[in-house]
């Protein structure tokens, strides 16, 4: 826990208790969660998926969020990925306050600031690898020549240049995940957010993907991996453990 304070800005110790000292200031950190609550209505009962979670992630960090199922880590991932907004609290990404954004603004943030990598890859089955990687750029409104160029570069970065005209069902699991990573990185997002990225892969391929993450991290990308596997989390530089909707531990490994 003392390691975590090194990574967080002034006032971090207070933040751990869910108190916010500098509410109005734009945080210096790339990602800043301040006293985030997520509450669901289940019938007449209120269920708190997150109870006042606060942490910061600096640019260039490689963070693993770990926790058992039901711990609230999926909810947290949805919030970090701007797929959802918190019931209470403030979430800042790259200097923008996401917590009060509407649907279209969230879509724009997802497009520009977040690169998703999913357990089941979530590629469009009918589209080629190249088209899948181009997709975020299409929604960004980029012209087709520029798009092609960037998508090719991104595929080259994951060493799939020779497979770019293949459809997902013509690729192996590891190749599919690399396409998904190329897609996540094509728009140069602030963070690469991976949800169980090796969950559908065999051990050997898992290591390949984790090595790729390592490489991307060394190139300066900010990576957040959500997982329940300790050995995947061990590859990160910082591990945030979630239990019962609260941060149980926030430790720096390296």
């Amino acid at each position: 826990m003392s390691d975590a304070t090194l990574a967080t800005p002034t006032g971090a110790s207070a933040l751990e208790h869910g108190e916010v000292l500098v509410r109005d200031a734009v945080p210096a950190a790339l990602i800043s969660m301040r006293d985030i609550w997520k509450t669901y209505q289940m019938g007449s009962e209120e269920v708190h998926a997150l109870h006042g979670v606060s942490f910061d992630v600096q640019k260039g960090e490689y963070v693993a969020i770990i926790g058992p199922s039901g711990s609230g880590k999926s909810t947290l991932m949805n919030l970090i990925g701007c797929l959802d907004t918190p019931s209470k609290g403030e979430y800042w990404i790259n200097g923008k306050n996401v917590s009060e954004m509407d649907d279209d603004e969230l879509a724009r943030i997802r497009n520009k600031e977040v690169g998703f990598v999913f357990q089941t890859f979530n590629l469009l089955a009918r589209a080629t690898a190249l088209h899948n990687v181009e997709l975020p750029l299409i929604y960004a409104g980029m012209s087709s020549t520029e798009r092609h160029e960037k998508a090719k570069q991104s595929l080259a970065a994951v060493e799939l240049t020779d497979r770019m005209m293949h459809k997902p069902n013509e690729l192996s699991g590891g190749q599919r995940q690399r396409v998904a990573i190329a897609r996540a990185l094509v728009n140069h997002p602030s963070i690469l957010l991976a949800d169980e990225p090796t969950g559908a892969l065999d051990t050997h391929t898992s290591y390949e993907i984790m090595n790729l993450f390592e490489k991307l991290h060394s190139e300066g990308n900010t990576i957040i991996v959500v997982t329940h596997e300790p050995d995947i989390a061990a590859r990160a530089y910082r591990v945030i453990s979630i239990r019962d909707g609260m941060i149980e531990k926030d430790e720096r490994l390296r």
Binding site: N78, L83, D84, A107, R108, N111, L123, L135, P136
Partner: protein
């Protein structure tokens, strides 16, 4: 997202499910084809009617014993028969002398049927009518051989005959009818002109007739009353409003017949407008029904498209989730499904129009002239696009408001 990307996406989605798309379109295609065929039959009929029956190009009107309105029902017919009197040559002279707005005023008498003979060739029941000399100009007669008769021949009650092509061909199989003699109802006449063959209109042959000078007709066939009822045909002077000329003729007839201000006309005036008006009155109701019935197929076609779009949204929930997760806004998803529905529908419309054009050609060749106007094509395409919008909007809205987290969780 740019429109062209959305369109490409729609086309690839339609192409990906070729059989399904084709079946979905079937309703649309049948509906559009049926409506456009009906419209082109009606338009063809109207054009044909205007050209052949109403004689729209001639811009003439006629004054007769009865008007169209007199034939509304049995009572009006009975009343008109009591009230209306045959037109007379005195009335013709009266109108002719006093008119300011009429350019040419001609007169004709309805035809009676007579036996026509030349040597051993006999034709029974040929319609023979009488006309003034200027009727050739008024009716724009197309003379293939010889000439029409003159005022002098009319005044002298000369026995000269202007004959139709069928009569000429039967009596003079070797040609050269002009200048030769034929016998009409027992009296000899000299053929002075032959009319260019016109064929048939609505199955009625147009070339089986003989026209003789009006005064010759009156003296040889009997008084110009009842079945030989006299009627006037008039054209308006250049630069004169057509309706003013019509109203002047009405006024002169009423004055001549000493009608009081509140008396009904005891004669009828027929204008091309009145004739097309009758056509529209009869055909209008039929048209509405004839268009409404196949239009139901369009509505059904729209429902089919909506149904398939709803299925498509459900099937593609995961895809919608993926698109949303990488930055598609609600409007992008909405557009995607709307454009898909409209494209689907418009393709159906276009195929329908092409099929309708082919069917129209076939009908024209085999049965009846049809006419497919550009306006009808544009309306058909706009309507099918509109149906696409109507049937796409609900599924697209459903897709757009999907929660990305839920959508990503779908299989």
């Amino acid at each position: 997202m740019k429109f062209i990307e959305t369109l490409k996406l729609a086309l690839s989605a339609i192409w990906a499910h070729k059989l399904r798309s084709a079946l979905t379109l079937l309703g649309m295609i049948i509906g559009v084809t049926a409506v456009v065929v009906v419209v082109s039959v009606i338009q063809g009929f109207n054009a044909y009617f205007d050209e052949k029956v109403a004689n729209i190009g001639s811009q003439s009107f006629s004054v007769r014993r009865f008007s169209f309105d007199d034939f509304k029902n049995v009572d009006t017919i009975a009343a008109a028969q009591r009230r209306n009197k045959d037109l007379t040559l005195d009335e013709f002279d009266y109108v002719h002398e006093r008119t300011q707005l009429i350019d040419k005023l001609g007169a004709r008498a309805n035809a009676t049927r007579a036996q026509v003979k030349r040597g051993s060739e006999i034709i029974e029941d040929v319609p023979v009518d009488g006309a003034t000399a200027n009727m050739a100009d008024i009716d724009n007669l197309d003379i293939s051989d010889g000439r029409f008769f003159t005022d002098a021949e009319n005044d002298a009650q000369m026995r000269v005959a202007y004959i139709g092509a069928d009569v000429a061909n039967k009596l003079f199989p070797s040609g050269n009818s002009v200048g030769n003699e034929i016998t009409i109802a027992g009296l000899p006449y000299r053929v002075i002109g032959v009319q260019t063959a016109k064929g048939t209109v609505f199955g009625v042959p147009q070339d089986n007739f003989i026209t003789v000078p009006l005064k010759t007709y009156a003296s040889n066939f009997g008084n110009l009353i009842n079945q030989r009822s006299l009627y006037f045909v008039a054209t308006a002077k250049k630069g004169v409003n057509f309706n003013d000329a019509v109203e002047e003729a009405r006024f002169l007839m009423r004055t001549r017949r000493h009608l009081a201000a509140n008396d009904k006309d005891n004669f009828g005036i027929l204008t091309p407008d009145a004739i097309t008006g009758i056509r529209d009155r009869v055909l209008g109701t039929v048209s509405i029904v004839a268009i409404a019935v196949p239009a139901i197929a369009l509505v059904v076609g729209g429902i089919v498209i909506m149904n398939i779009m709803l299925v498509s949204v459900t099937e593609r929930t995961k895809e919608i989730g993926i698109r949303k997760s990488i930055g598609a806004r609600r409007s992008d998803i909405l557009k995607q499904f709307m454009v898909e529905a409209v494209t689907l529908s418009a393709i159906g419309g276009a195929i329908g129009v092409i099929l309708a054009w082919i069917v129209g050609r076939i009908i024209t060749a085999v049965i009846f002239p049809t006419y497919l106007s550009i306006a009808a094509v544009i309306v058909a395409l706009i309507v099918s696009g509109g149906i696409g919008i109507m049937s796409g909007i609900f599924p697209a809205w459903k897709a757009a408001r999907l929660d990305p987290i839920e959508a990503l969780r779908a299989d």
